[in-house]
Symmetry: D2
Subunit: 374 residues, 4 copies
Amino acid sequence: MKNTFGSNVTVTIFGESHGPAIGCVIDGLTPGLQVDEEFIRHMLSRRRPSSPVDTPRREPDNYSILSGVFNGKTTGTPICIMIPNENTRSGDYLFGPARPSHADYTAHIKYNGFEDYRGGGHFSGRITAALVAAGGIITPALNRLGIYIGTHIFSCGGVQDASLGDKEKEIEENIKLLNNKVFPVLSDEAGEKMTAAISEAAKAHDSLGGIVKTAITGLPAGVGEPWFDSLESLLSHALYSIGAVKGVEFGKGFEAVSMRGSEFNDAFKKDGDRVVTVTNNNGGINGGISNGMPVMFNVSVKPTPSVSRPQKTVNFLTGEEEELVIQGRHDPAIVRRICPVIDSITAIVIADALVTGFGPQVLVKGKALWNTDL
Amino acid sequence: MKNTFGSNVTVTIFGESHGPAIGCVIDGLTPGLQVDEEFIRHMLSRRRPSSPVDTPRREPDNYSILSGVFNGKTTGTPICIMIPNENTRSGDYLFGPARPSHADYTAHIKYNGFEDYRGGGHFSGRITAALVAAGGIITPALNRLGIYIGTHIFSCGGVQDASLGDKEKEIEENIKLLNNKVFPVLSDEAGEKMTAAISEAAKAHDSLGGIVKTAITGLPAGVGEPWFDSLESLLSHALYSIGAVKGVEFGKGFEAVSMRGSEFNDAFKKDGDRVVTVTNNNGGINGGISNGMPVMFNVSVKPTPSVSRPQKTVNFLTGEEEELVIQGRHDPAIVRRICPVIDSITAIVIADALVTGFGPQVLVKGKALWNTDL
Amino acid sequence: MKNTFGSNVTVTIFGESHGPAIGCVIDGLTPGLQVDEEFIRHMLSRRRPSSPVDTPRREPDNYSILSGVFNGKTTGTPICIMIPNENTRSGDYLFGPARPSHADYTAHIKYNGFEDYRGGGHFSGRITAALVAAGGIITPALNRLGIYIGTHIFSCGGVQDASLGDKEKEIEENIKLLNNKVFPVLSDEAGEKMTAAISEAAKAHDSLGGIVKTAITGLPAGVGEPWFDSLESLLSHALYSIGAVKGVEFGKGFEAVSMRGSEFNDAFKKDGDRVVTVTNNNGGINGGISNGMPVMFNVSVKPTPSVSRPQKTVNFLTGEEEELVIQGRHDPAIVRRICPVIDSITAIVIADALVTGFGPQVLVKGKALWNTDL
Amino acid sequence: MKNTFGSNVTVTIFGESHGPAIGCVIDGLTPGLQVDEEFIRHMLSRRRPSSPVDTPRREPDNYSILSGVFNGKTTGTPICIMIPNENTRSGDYLFGPARPSHADYTAHIKYNGFEDYRGGGHFSGRITAALVAAGGIITPALNRLGIYIGTHIFSCGGVQDASLGDKEKEIEENIKLLNNKVFPVLSDEAGEKMTAAISEAAKAHDSLGGIVKTAITGLPAGVGEPWFDSLESLLSHALYSIGAVKGVEFGKGFEAVSMRGSEFNDAFKKDGDRVVTVTNNNGGINGGISNGMPVMFNVSVKPTPSVSRPQKTVNFLTGEEEELVIQGRHDPAIVRRICPVIDSITAIVIADALVTGFGPQVLVKGKALWNTDL
């Protein structure tokens, strides 16, 4: 489905970096969800370049909701959100030399030279603003059901952040903190060191990547499908939409290679009436289906491809090798700005999986529909 | 779509571990593809338990092709492959105590107690035989187009295998070797050490996981879509169908955190008429679309959940905590048997992406349709 | 999706007329639905050739349920039903001369000559047995929710059947009668005349078509979607799967041309607590969504293409015109046998629309989920 | 998929009659298609109210293309077209009394009272402007391949139009005439009588329906799928998106009931190198797949529900019966304005079916990909 994601709650994205506007259409949301425009603006502000380690391109993100919201609530019909592009400098972009690690070359091959190449066109990170706006509509509905989603910069520039914690309540509190931070880390000290590392890389005309870690709390057991629509399948599918993502792991992920089954297995126990697990090495998912523990995953974000030092490349107009010095305005690291994007993508996936599993009214009725007593 | 994967080439799976049969329906394959039954049997034999480090359950996998093949060739209409279950010992399985790290608990919640619990039911690794049979039909068609797929056990029990190589030709040769090995490693010495580690774990009533590495060679540039159907999205979606998979990374994956943009970026250069990259840190994919370099990814396989030592759990019939000692026949590690499953899943994804990108005739016409000159 | 239908309850069909077996995979059904094998056999018997006006090919339809049913109930995972072909006489079929009004020519073009041409291959009406088996599983679940589906031969051979009635209760009673009749008409006298007309046509080496009328009672208001997944869109999509269907109309359908808005409009009124309409010219659907009145539609069934008199055609092997006399065993009219097929297709569509609208548990919980008080 | 249609070329619609804007997102179009803005405006003008027998609401349809078009050509990425609503008079609409034959009641039930009720909200015919804009982009690409689509008012107010003809060339010429007519009929005399009948009905505070007939010429054989994605299934699915449509028939449609197989069957013959049929009772489709003859279908359009005479209804706020006199601005018949909508829907379906059958490049390469020699 190319630019549409989801089974029952679907998001269709459109737009190019330097076109008139970007946006998305969200379909299948439960009618009657309160739309919190302040929260949408808050989400967009988290993604917007704002700190010295971000790109100087500043877009006001003056979005419009064109449909699907009436009297401040969702109607149940498609919501189109449009965000105009206002601050474009297309002259910075050349057609011909393929920027390494960008999509210029692959887009050129795929679209036979008809691609809008300016600023990466449809492949630009700019489009993620539309996903964040969608997250801005969906997230409050999940929160009202007691489901929280948060992401922190786990590792960047050789610096590691503090832990989100082991207990659901602690993780939830940390999520709430993170969602109000400009630089989403738990340890401000770690954050300062990361910022310094990014600034240093920028000065060296270079860029950094990082690992970001996401947690979902309050998700009931029973969400997801066996096999092809496992919760891991759905989440990784959506996360890998972002070109900068090069790794996704759940729970212990790649560390599992150094563990034995007896260590890795998450024993079940009772916690009052609930069934919980003693450890959470599976990241809250067994057999593709949530088990009621926090869902935990890590995402590897590659260093921003745009570095302002000379790079070797091929010019696809001349067919010749050449040296390229990238102009334009860029982030020396996107680990900060990617956090609300991942939160939003996660919210979309969870809303869709809940509706698929429990019906369209679940985003209003919550527990009444997912009753999962043994 | 739950148990159906794909956009234009689709695979629908069915079956339970201890039911009459498992199988799949493959739709959308180009008509006229030669079906090589010997190769299907070969693929199934690679997945079948056969070595001392595999489960003692031995299924002959006497599959039948019920439809969609006529005079030894695909007709273009749905191919149903059925594989009877012949060697089941359902008495080994109990309904009630949830096996840790298995899907017993989540299936019980999701299916309200109506799940077929015997041997993991629909969540059993047994179902992967159907995927391998599908791979057995699709893979030769890809090979005829010059596309090769192979997987080796990169790391298990603290032992690492030799490298697949850097050059496409070398990788392709290694793939061909791997596809004929019982224990798919490049270094036989590494293989022996891994086998010893697995045997040792089995004797300790324990199990091991590992990391497997997959390469796709010969894939043209231009395959995959931006955003939601990125090649990484499609591959990870399909790979995460397997319950044991806990991590998927492309190219340098999680190592990207320790690299700078200037190191990570894959510079373009000319190789005769072709555009290639000097390094392949992006794993052959830029912006979600193949760039003509080998596609490379790693999969983290968790240690087999079934270990024959006492484990703490909750019995969902009584609602009480109890100690469980798992009976039944199990693999102390599935890193060996998962390789042909990953190869097959990859073949399915690639066939689908090719047909989506170049039309249904591409599996016969190949290069004539994906002509991707600059 | 070619051979898969549905959004949340999906049916995937496979098979050829003269291959080893036909069948289907049903996914997404609520777990815990009682499977009534006697009813499945009853449904298959309604479709099976059995009267003098049917084809002499008699298939026992010894189906097997390969998966998805455990202890007599649906598990929630895919149900594969396989029906072996036992009575085939492939020698009757020739490769080359395209039978007029059949799919021989179009299949030959589409599948490049690789189609299984024997008995129409994948295009054969034989495949509808798989749809009827699916209907045999789904229909009792709908009945338990108070939803009934029935089809009668409204018109054939110049003879018209009696009316299904206007009142829901009356229609429901008539549906129950029809579902137990070998020749599904309300007036036995009309049935005898239709049978005579068909026999007469058969003797004249010719065939008849007809119009069949279907009613759905007990369907709550609020089922279906605006625009692309209107209930009419879903039903007509599924009905037009059958090659013999050439017309589908809802309510007054094509008669609307001779009515004015003031006549056609269905005024609303109260009937106790319920909102009903005075007339039902819209066939129970407004704006694509059920309004709580019986859903009524007519299907035009073309005369069976296989007539045993010489016909002019082109042989696609020689490329020459020739005269063809069709051999093989055929129905002089399929209006009788198509009724359970339409009932089953309708049951599939309704189950899918209910699950999409009210969640997967609706097939068990019914009214509790579709509460539609004003 | 609710508001998204298509497999490979998809159209997602959004908007409400009295919201800020309506529009659509078209995904999957071949890159490099020339976008003819004058033609889009022409298509929109054909649908726009303009004659005395149309609604007095006059929308300028000042659409914007927000994405997916660069240098006047499609890029291959999603095209968002937005059309602002400029001429709304929401005060005419009441929340409570369900307008008979409209979607007010069913929308109220489905969306739990959160629907945007003004002017029919998302159910308004206003949304079809977005489909016509999509048709305006797609149709010229089909025309360049030699495929033409046209619709005329076959019957309205007891008046029947002249025939489109039997020969493909004649039909194509008639299509070209129709596409430039304000009132799309072949006989101007018939058109005048129809207009008079509509005016007369309007004066009587009433409305008319009609039958419109569509032809597709130049479509190659081999388009469509067996069973669930038959060309009839796809077309009827899309056509039944329009709330006013109550019948769809192909070829002889419901007339088939009065024909015998020997009359109905379309004998094949040679026409130079081509295979054609002597008659076209199947409407150009055999077994769900185009046979190279003109595709012909009829659509029954019900009388406009909005009539300005008192009607009985139920008020869903009070729960009481009441008499309603509809205010607002309405068409006494939509047979004129529906023609470009049907043309556009048909163009969308055909583009999607071509791309599914022959690959994304088919909209540029045409015959080179659909080579269908015997």
